[in-house]
Amino acid sequence: MGLPRLLAGLDRGRGPMTLAHHERVHGPLPRLASWRLIEMVAGSGLRGRGGADFPTARKLHAVASARGRDRAVVVNGSETEPASGKDRLLLSRLPHLVLDGAALAADAVGAQEVIIKVSERAADSIRSLEGAVAVRDERASIQLVCAPDGYVAGEESAVIHYLNTGQQTPTFVPPRPFERGYRRRPTLVQNPETLAQLALIARHGARWFRELGTAPDPGSALVTISGAIDAPGVYELAFGTPMRDLLDAAGGASEPLRALLVGGYFGTWVDATTALELRLAREDLRSVGCALGSGVLIALGQSACGLHESARVIDYLALESAGQCGPCVHGLRALADLVADLADGVAHIGERDRALRWAAEVRGRGACHHPSGATRFIESALHVFSPELETHQHSRCRARPAGLPVGSRALLGASR
């Protein structure tokens, strides 16, 4: 039914798709007038796939019409979400699709420079991009920048800060990158999947893009599914796909599920019964306080303890604070300690109210989104795993660790 799109032609091998193979699968890269491409993207309804969900055409337009002569495009391939694998899959296996999108975006906004930022540990992505850039004939200059990992390192202002100064911390905004970014130029920062989608929209048009998905959420999306399922990996699915089908695409649940984490560590826990009734669509997800974010789904089995898993993740998020803003530094630390005590049954259940108050107070009070994303995760954990909170007051938790990835990237198996 029209899928795969982005992942078309991807074989089971390991190496990057060659330019010749890429052009056989997708056809040659069209050159379009700036207004024409922005119009097509606007018609397609494409939104940024890095997590912020911002309409891509508006971002393109903002950079194209910003004051200043020089502009830049930054491909933000940081992918700092530990359970995400889609950017790495695109960059390491389908580099030409992302580079097509970057070239089109550079033309559309009038940028002479494209900077691709990836994790210095993503050796396969780096090799693939170096190989791909070497065989392409580009109008804009392309530069590959490899940076250290860190959860907040992928945040837009942190990426610009790193490129400008070598310091990978978020900055106080405004100015936003589209106003003043790389070397103070108006800068378009886009996630690799967004650019890959754009490369297909430029070839096939807005109407084609909308043939999949729903009216408010057109097209397909790359979703990284992991946890208690049989075939974890990156899957391309149409928006509107029922969550059940989505899990089935990844081999189905490997045990009865307790909950799903939607949207990664800035995301939201949803209990399994509710989650399985949802579709992969913003309106469905919003109805239970979720967003797809960067497309990360983690299934938690009933043999695991959502409280202890969440406590580990919160501890990780507290450690990953850039250490700049007081509410994030002190608030997340205190929350991590309190949630750990609640999970262990050491803190009285009444302390949950204190945790919820701290979470509400800390939200929105960082220079970047880190404290807001982390507190959303914490609030959902305290709500969804409320029954566990009760039982842990009286009896020791005997659940097996589910091993939600923290600290290093999840090693993802089969990708399709």
Binding site: Q324, C325, G326, P327, H330, G331, E361, A367
Partner: protein, 68 residues
Amino acid sequence: MSHRLRVNPIACEAHGLCGELLPELIRLDDWGYPILDESRVPSDLRELARKAADACPTLALLLEDDRD
């Protein structure tokens, strides 16, 4: 012209003067950092807000024109 208060959270070091000078709009969290429940500044508090912003040792409290 109406005004808004904003905290630069990177610059703020929890000296807490703002909470002392402008309790009508600013309370402090459990670690001494300011919470603005409402950023819009009523006109009768504008002078106090100006004083609080000027008093911040790290210039982290910003009184800005409201552009909306």
